[in-house]
Symmetry: C2
Subunit: 197 residues, 2 copies
């Protein structure tokens, strides 16, 4: 028996079915209406009562975290690929874009993520993925610094913040051209002036 399975010994059929339906519906609603979507509507469309939704996911953040689980895993997988590249500068750049995409998955997502990153609430379900991302970013940054591609004094957390705010702006309907300008601006900010090959 794996650790993720039941500790007692009863994985009720109900529970799994409802949980799956809720996750599926919630993802659709988050996609269409953003993270602020009506949880009541999600429950109704999933064919369960509000009580059931709240029992499975006590807070909006818990539901969000569960829905994001899949995407988080994909992101981590992408990181593995990215790390394969020899070029630390290129790797960092790709990683930042990957994070930005992740943050942009649903409209309004950066808000709760920032709240979780600040992380005075240790039981916020979004804190864990955030910490993972920050750490991963920091590793990329350090690698790129060692290779002389990134200024000293830049931390992973700084670029995490930058990616998060870029995603926030993106989610607010700014045109792609302006976004690219902003990304370029930020890249100019962290890049080492004279890269040493």
């Amino acid at each position: 028996m794996s650790a993720t399975e039941q500790r007692g010994r009863k994985p009720r059929a109900d529970v799994q079915r409802n949980r799956a339906a809720l996750l599926e519906t919630a993802q659709r609603h988050f996609l269409q209406h953003g993270v602020g979507t009506s949880l009541e509507a999600v429950a109704k469309e999933a064919g369960v009562g509000p009580g059931t939704l709240y029992r499975h996911f006590p807070t909006r953040e818990a539901l969000l975290a569960a829905v994001l689980q899949t995407r988080s895993e994909e992101l981590v997988a992408r990181q593995a690929d990215i790390e394969q590249l020899g070029d630390a500068a290129e790797a960092l750049e790709q990683w930042l874009r990957a994070m930005e995409d992740y943050f942009s998955a649903f409209s309004g997502l950066p808000e709760p993520l920032m709240a979780a990153a600040r992380a005075q609430e240790p039981d916020n379900p979004l804190t864990i993925p955030c910490d993972i991302l920050i750490t991963a970013t920091d590793e990329h940054v350090q690698a790129a610094q060692s290779a002389g591609h990134v200024r000293a004094g830049v931390r992973g957390y700084d670029l995490f913040l930058a990616a998060c705010s870029t995603a926030w702006i993106k989610g607010n309907g700014t045109d792609e051209e302006s976004l690219d300008r902003l990304r370029t601006l930020i890249a100019s900010g962290y890049r080492q002036r004279n890269a040493q090959p």
Copy 2:
């Protein structure tokens, strides 16, 4: 008769009193609870009914814009001072900080400001101040570019976005040190490498 006075000829005493009370109370509530504060509570504390509040300020944005009026004027005044400086680079930097402070006046303010800046809704009361700020920023940028302090290709709007997102991050409780790092990062991004005095 000035243009800002009545066009017909009746400035009812009621109206002025209530409007003033609403603005005063709203500012306090925005300060304490952010831009999402309960308008019902504002009305109640101002001693008027909800109807009166909504007649004076049909939307939350209208109320926000009215409350921000004073601050906007201060900001413009500060701009005048800043322009006096001969140093365009220093002027730009100060201007960006001034804007950031303005955006940080109330928690959650960047959100509606961004929505207004994107500006497909021409009757959004926040659009006007936003456009003014963008234009002003662009002037500072161009001045600094002429003096060779800022890269070509940087637009005022880009730095407006940057300031807005910095304020957003700030409003989400990030520590001052990280903010300073981010500001430095952005500054490194727009500054010309070899300034020509």
